[in-house]
């Protein structure tokens, strides 16, 4: 499996390059010269960069899994690697898709893999629930996506990006473009766990941790961002939609950050953090800072994968997800601690770690776009990010209590990928810049000399200050205990309690599902059985009864038969009378 994957990776990277290449074959044929839909490969900077991320992380995760899942039974393991490989295939198909339809096809396939992998431990009811929940919620967004591309096709007659982009350049896009793009964006909302469809991602942590790292942190969940980036020329033609994306993204970022604060499960902290970071990326795209958003996507892929895998190493060691039962793991697992802290710093946007660059760029871009609201939301999120991440770091690796059992460092096959990812988290930007020999926006084809947005001069100290403040607060509360956690909670009023419930969004969905969908199903089921079919049965029963009733005519008395003859005669005579 792993070899196959490497092959795919090699192939994908071999095709990488700045020059845009599109190769298509007919897929859905129809009468006339052009097929209705094609399959093919579209290679440009965006897809190449994305493919690099996917293949790299996927390979590392595969390696890591060799250690992580070493105890699994062979058939289950086969299933696992099959799903993983299928995922890599589907994700690459998505990345290289030259048209909306193919993108949608692989979009669904990665969703499928996500569903299957979340449900990997299918005997666990929670895993089963989480898997279908993930599928349904993303499907909800996909429905919009599908309708969107159908509508867009209806208006333009094509799915091809190339044709559509040319139309965008020529300004010949249809009038209902905003509607189409909003619907398409819905797909991204579901996949990239934007509010209000973010509820599935935390639950998706029921899957094995490598899966969370690959699918639910680094790659699949960013497909939504990728989608928006891919169709960016079209979104640019519908600026209203971009603003919506920005606001939703920023709100999601903040919301998820607050939610992350209330979690006890280390993976759920990371999951909410992913949601929050996806919000960042979306906001960037919404603000027009394409390069910043995509860069954050790539870098986030590295450090979030790192965080997950490191968390996985911890879980692997202590056999629990609950942070509060961990503690002082830094002693038993110093290497893991180091890489985890590296990831955390990158995530928090502390210079010189890679996250700092992209986060700065995003904040700058949002400021430059004049989106003050989102800027405020994101700034708060910067603070909160540092807070909840270091809360996790302190509670897990330092803290007052020691974890039970005998935690140990993971084996080399797991540690290797961690180191590699740590390096990338530290110096991802620099390494990338060096390899490419140009700035990232240039790489993306935004023209020579294009740079990342950097905003006003006060931005860097402001954001770094916020991050450090968060770090400090976390240290005071969770390490030193100077400020008791309870006091903090009290100070925030009912907010923490709500946050622990996910602000009731889950409950709302559940209510709609149970009280709306299932109840309606029961109602219609009843109608079908007792009304629609009831009519049939009543008619049948009437026919049966009519037979039984008519039979009463046959009394057995001869004279009644004679009456019958006479009545028949009279009937004929009456008919005759009526005939004239």
């Amino acid at each position: 499996m792993g070899f196959w994957l490497l092959g795919v990776q090699a192939q994908a990277q071999g095709g990488g390059g700045v020059r845009e290449v599109t190769v298509t074959l007919p897929w859905l044929i129809q009468a006339g010269p052009a097929p209705l839909a094609t399959v093919g490969v579209l290679v440009d900077a965006l897809s190449a960069a994305m493919a690099a991320l996917v293949t790299l992380v996927a390979t590392l995760v595969q390696l890591y899994s060799l250690g992580y899942l070493a105890d699994e039974a062979p058939p289950a393991l086969g299933r696992y690697y099959f799903y993983q490989s299928l995922f890599a295939f589907a994700m690459l198909g998505l990345v290289f898709a030259p048209n909306f339809l193919q993108l949608f096809v692989f979009w669904e396939l990665v969703g499928l893999c996500s569903y299957l992998l979340i449900g990997y431990y299918y005997q666990r009811p929670a895993a089963a629930r989480a898997a279908v929940k993930a599928f349904w919620v993303t499907k909800l967004g996909d429905v919009g996506f599908l309708v969107g591309i159908v509508l867009l096709w209806g208006a333009t007659g094509t799915f091809e990006f190339g044709t559509l982009f040319r139309a965008a350049a020529a300004g010949t896009l249809p009038a209902n473009l905003a509607l189409c793009m909003t619907l398409i964006y819905l797909g991204a909302v579901g996949k990239s766990a934007q509010f209000p469809l973010h509820v599935w991602l935390p639950d998706a942590m029921e899957g094995p941790t490598p899966v969370s790292a690959l699918i639910h942190a680094a790659t699949m969940v960013t497909a939504g961002v990728f989608l928006v980036a891919r169709a960016y020329p079209l979104f640019l033609a519908a600026p209203g939609v971009l603003v919506l994306i920005a606001y939703v993204g920023a709100f999601t970022a903040l919301l998820a950050a607050t939610l992350a604060l209330g979690q006890n499960d280390i993976k759920r902290v990371l999951a909410y953090s992913t949601v929050s970071q996806l919000g960042y990326m979306m906001t960037a795209l919404g603000a027009g800072a394409l390069a910043a958003g995509v860069l954050h996507l790539l870098l986030h892929g590295f450090f979030k994968a790192l965080l997950f895998l490191a968390a996985g190493a911890v879980i692997h060691a202590v056999h629990t997800n609950d942070m509060w039962t961990m503690g002082r793991l830094a002693r038993a697992m110093p290497k893991t601690t180091i890489v985890f802290v590296v990831g955390t710093l990158a995530l928090a946007g502390v210079p010189p770690f890679s996250g700092f660059v992209s986060k700065e760029a995003i904040l700058g871009g949002v400021w430059e776009a004049g989106l003050r609201g989102p800027f405020v939301l994101l700034s708060v999120t910067v603070f909160l990010t540092a807070l909840y991440m270091f809360r996790a770091v302190f509670v897990t690796f330092f803290g007052a209590r020691a974890a039970e059992g005998h935690p140990h460092e993971p084996p080399g096959v797991m540690m290797g990928p961690l180191w590699l990812l740590a390096v990338l988290s530290v110096a991802g930007t620099a390494l990338g810049g060096a390899a490419l020999g140009q700035t990232f926006p240039e790489f993306l084809g935004q023209g020579r000399g294009a740079t990342l947005p950097h905003g006003p001069g006060w931005l860097t100290p402001f954001s770094v200050g916020l991050a450090l403040a968060g770090l400090l607060l976390a240290w005071l509360v969770y390490q030193r205990g100077t400020i008791p956690a309870a006091a903090l909670t009290r100070a925030l009023g009912p907010l923490p309690a709500w946050a622990a419930q996910g602000y009731g969004i889950d409950a709302l969905y559940l209510a709609i599902y149970r009280g709306g969908v299932l109840a309606l199903g029961r109602l219609i089921g009843w109608i079908d059985r007792y009304l629609v079919d009831g009519v049939v049965n009543v008619f049948s029963a009437w026919t049966l009864r009519a037979g039984a009733d008519l039979r009463q005519l046959q009394t057995g008395r001869a004279q009644d038969y004679l009456y019958g003859v006479t009545a028949g005669m009279l009937l004929v005579l009456v008919l005759w009378r009526l005939w004239a």
Binding site: Q559, Y563, T566, A567, M569, L570, L573
Partner: protein
């Protein structure tokens, strides 16, 4: 003309009265006797219609033959049951309504029908009848013969007490 009408009127009253007697009498024997009277009355009608031969047949075969068989049958069954046969009617009202409806339907049509001016009355001669039967209706006559044999055979088979 008037004489004939008068005769018809008288016979009609007789026939209808006898008919009602047939269907209303309590005692089966009385019914049979009323029937005989009705048949004889019909024979009288035939005479009025100048079909004397048929009148004769009517009296001999019908009033004589049929009534005799019926009486025989009644005697036979009476002997079997050992009781005088009483008979009653049921559903008189319904029967009356239905019969009246049939009568009205037929009578209404008769009165409604356009009648050509009364054609010359024709009388029946035995020779005409004999010739007709043996020429034009010979096949029917043969068939009737077979029918009589078959019916006789059947009636005999049924009525005969099994060995």
């Amino acid at each position: 003309m008037t004489a004939e009408a008068l005769g018809l009127g008288g016979v009609a009253v007789l026939v209808l009265g006898a008919s009602l007697g047939v269907v209303l009498a309590r005692n089966l024997f009385h019914s049979v006797l009323w029937l005989a009277l009705a048949l004889v009355g019909t024979a009288a009608l035939f005479v009025l219609l100048h079909a004397e031969f048929l009148a004769a047949v009517q009296v001999l075969l019908y009033a004589g033959g049929v009534v005799t068989i019926v009486v025989f049958a009644i005697m036979l069954t009476e002997r079997l049951v050992g009781d005088t046969i009483r008979q009653t009617n049921r559903g008189i009202l319904a029967g009356a309504v239905v019969s009246a409806a049939v009568f009205l339907a037929v009578a209404g049509t008769i009165l409604r029908a356009p009648r050509a001016p009364a054609p010359a009355a024709t009388a029946l001669t035995t020779a005409t009848l004999g010739r007709a039967i043996l020429t034009e209706w010979v096949l029917a006559f043969e068939v009737l013969g077979i029918l009589l044999v078959a019916a006789l055979l059947g009636a005999l088979y049924l009525a005969r007490a099994e060995e």
